[in-house]
Symmetry: C2
Subunit: 369 residues, 2 copies
C-alpha cells in the first residue's frame, strides 16, 4: 500500500478485527541490549566503539525513512521501539488477537560479517530482551528466535536455550547469500522441529544484481520476492522438508504474487530433472502447499477477480496469511489491503491459516471474528 494510505484509521465506525498479524517489527537499540550482554561483549560496545553494520545505502525515499510517518512514538524515538505506543496504534486500535514479532536487527546476526562470537552474543541478548520486554508484557505478542548461523553448533545451542519458551513460535532466518538448504545448516532445522518451532524466513538483502547494489531503492524493493523465490528453490530441492516433514516455513514480507510462477516452474523442472534430486518425493508445488505459508504484505492492489485468479493458480486457500508489517512505510491496513473476500476465506487469511501454521499459538476458543 502506498504511503498515503498508512495513516491511522479513523476511529469512529471502525470495527475491531481479531486478526493474527504475522509480521510486526519491534525494534531494538543496541544500547538496550547492554543489560543482556555479558562481558567482553558489553565492553566492546560500551568502550571499544563497536557499531552495528550498515544495512542499506539508501534512506528509503519516504517521509519517515523506512517507517510510517505516524509511527514515531511520543518520546520521539524510532518506530517500533515503544511497546505502549505499538499497543495503542496497532494492537488495541485494530483489535489483534495475536501478533508475531519478526524483529529488526538489521542486518540479522546470521548476516553479520566476521566475528561470529559477537553475532552469537547479540542474537542471545536480543532473544532475552525480546522475551522480557515484549513477549512477557503483552499476551498477544509471540516471538521469533534470532540466531547467528556462522557457527551452526552455537545456533543450535541458542535454539535449545530459548526454544521451549511458550511464546517463541519460530526461528527467524535471513534471506541473503546463505543457502539454508545446504546440509551444513540442517542441524538448525532439526533443532527447530524438535522444539515444535517453525521457520520464519525474512529477506535481509535481495539478490540485487549478484551482490552489487542497484542504483535505486525502487529496484531493491521490487526484487524482494526474487530473493524469496531463490530461497524456496534452495530449500525444496535440497530436501529440507522431506528430511524434516513437520517443519513449515513462513515466508515473511515478500507477498505471494510470485508463488504461482515458482510452483509452475519448479514442477516442470522436477518433471524434467528429478533424477538429480532423488530425495524429493513430492512435487515442489505440493511441498509448497504443505510446508510453506506466505505473509500477504506488501500485497499489490488487487481486485477480487485478480485475487481469486491468483488463489486459483496457487491451488490453495491455506497458504497465505495476513500481515501488516507495522511500522514499516508500506504497512498494509487490514481494513484496506485486500479486496472484499468471502467470509470463510477472509477468516482463513486473517487468522486461521496462521493459527494452523504455528502449533504454539493457542487454538481458537470459538466465536466469530
Amino acid at each position: 500500500m502506498s504511503t498515503t494510505q498508512t495513516q491511522t484509521e479513523t476511529k469512529k465506525s471502525k470495527q475491531k478485527l481479531a486478526i493474527i498479524d504475522t509480521d510486526i517489527h519491534e525494534r531494538v537499540l543496541y544500547k538496550d541490549l547492554l543489560p543482556y550482554l555479558d562481558n567482553p561483549w558489553r565492553h566492546y560496545i560500551e568502550n571499544c566503539g563497536w557499531i552495528q553494520e550498515k544495512h542499506l545505502p539508501y534512506v528509503q525515499p519516504t517521509v519517515a525513512g523506512v517507517d510510517r510517518a505516524d509511527a514515531v512514538p511520543p518520546n520521539g524515538g524510532l518506530p517500533g521501539t515503544d511497546l505502549k505506543f505499538m499497543q495503542e496504534q496497532l494492537l488495541d486500535d485494530i483489535g489483534h488477537e495475536f501478533g508475531i514479532l519478526t524483529g529488526a536487527l538489521d542486518p540479522s546476526p546470521s548476516s553479520m560479517h566476521g566475528w561470529p562470537e559477537m553475532a552469537t552474543a547479540l542474537a542471545s541478548a536480543y532473544n532475552d530482551w525480546q522475551i522480557e520486554n515484549w513477549l512477557e508484557k503483552d499476551e498477544r505478542l509471540y516471538g521469533s528466535i534470532q540466531i547467528a548461523a556462522q557457527e551452526v553448533e552455537s545456533a543450535v545451542k541458542e535454539i535449545e536455550r530459548v526454544g521451549n519458551h511458550p511464546k517463541m513460535v519460530q526461528v527467524l532466518l535471513p534471506i541473503d547469500d546463505i543457502m539454508w538448504g545446504d546440509p551444513q545448516y540442517h542441524p538448525i532445522f532439526e533443532a527447530a522441529e524438535r522444539h515444535n518451532l517453525m521457520i520464519g524466513m525474512h529477506h535481509n538483502e535481495p539478490p540485487s544484481y549478484y551482490g552489487k547494489w542497484p542504483r535505486y531503492f525502487i529496484e531493491w524493493h521490487t526484487l524482494i520476492p526474487t530473493a524469496h523465490i531463490m530461497m524456496i528453490t534452495n530449500l525444496v530441492f535440497n530436501g529440507v522438508f522431506e528430511k524434516y516433514p513437520n517443519l513449515k516455513c513462513m515466508m515473511i514480507e515478500g507477498g505471494f504474487t510470485h508463488v504461482p510462477h515458482i510452483m509452475r516452474k519448479m514442477d516442470q523442472q522436477y518433471k524434467d530433472l528429478r533424477h538429480e534430486v532423488p530425495w524429493l518425493k513430492r512435487k515442489p508445488s505440493q511441498v509448497i502447499k504443505e510446508n510453506f505459508c506466505f505473509t500477504t504484505q506488501p500485497v499489490e492492489e488487487l481486485s477480487k477477480k485478480e485475487f481469486m485468479q491468483l488463489l486459483d493458480q496457487l491451488g490453495s486457500e491455506d497458504i497465505i496469511s495476513f500481515s501488516t508489517d507495522y511500522p514499516h512505510w508500506d504497512y498494509d491496513s487490514p481494513y484496506r489491503a485486500l479486496p472484499n473476500l468471502d467470509k470463510e476465506l477472509s477468516k482463513k487469511i486473517f487468522s486461521e491459516n496462521a493459527r494452523n501454521f504455528y502449533p504454539k499459538l493457542p487454538k481458537k476458543e470459538g466465536g466469530e471474528q
Copy 2:
C-alpha cells in the same frame, strides 16, 4: 518440455509450420574463429594455451549434456556446429520461415573476466564467422551481434562495424552481474537504436545465491527467470526505454510465466515510489507491453485455460514469441509445446509478434501459415 519429448517428430502426417523461431543456438568451436582473428589474438589461442572460460560446474544431467541427444551431427561434432544438419533436423523439418541465431559463446564475451581486448577480439571474430558461415548461407537465418561490454567504446565500434548487415537484427547482451540499465552502458543502446537493431537479452548466469553456485543444476535452471526479472527491473527503472523509445528488448530463454508477477509488482512500486525515478513516464507494465517481448521456451506444460489465464494477466497477446531453443536439451517442439490455441493468437505467437518486433525481418507477403 522433458527430454523424452525431444526426439525428431515422425515425418508422416506432419504439417509444415512457417514459424519464426526466436531462439536457435548455433555453436562455435574456438578453433573455427582462428581465421577471423588477427594476431596477436590468434597467436594467443594457437600458441599460448588460451582456453575458453568454464561456464557451468555441472554437466547437465541429461543423456547428451546440455543438448538434445539426437542433435549430434553425423560427423560426431557438437550439436549446433553443423549448418547442414541443423537445416535438415530443424529448419526443413518444421518449415521455418525465419530463425534468429542467438549463439553459444559461453560465457558471452561481455561476461569474460579480465583482458577486455581479448573479449572484444573474440566478439568481432564471432560476428564475422556467424555472417560468413550462417547468415550468408541460409536465407532463413538472422543473427545477433556479440559485443564485449567491458569497454563500452569498443562495444559501440563493433555495433557500428556490423550493425548495418541486413541480417543482423539485434545486439545480444548477457544477463548476469552487469547492470545494463546503468548509464555507463547507454551508448550501446544508443548505437543499437541508431542501427535499427533490437536488444536480445539472454542469461549467462542466473543470480544463483549472490554469485555462489547452487548445489544442483535443477536449482540453477529454475532460477533463470529470476535473472530475467532482475534485468527487466534494472532496465525499466533506469529509464532505458524512455531514453531510447524505439528500442525493444527480446528476453530470450526465460519463458514468460514470471511476467504477470513482475508487471504487478513493478506497477505497485511505481505507484508508491515513482518520485525516485522521475524519468519514468509510463507504468512499468506499459513499458513491458510496448518495449519487451518474451520467447516462450522453456514453456511449462500449460492447459489452454492456464495459458489464457496467463495472457489475461499479461494484458497482451503481442509480447510472447515462440522459440525452440534448438539444440538444447529442453527444446520446445512447435507441434507440442503450446496448448491448442485459436488461429489468430497462434499466428501471433508463432510468427507475427516476432515479425513486428524485429524491424529488419521481411514483412509478410501474404498467405496463411
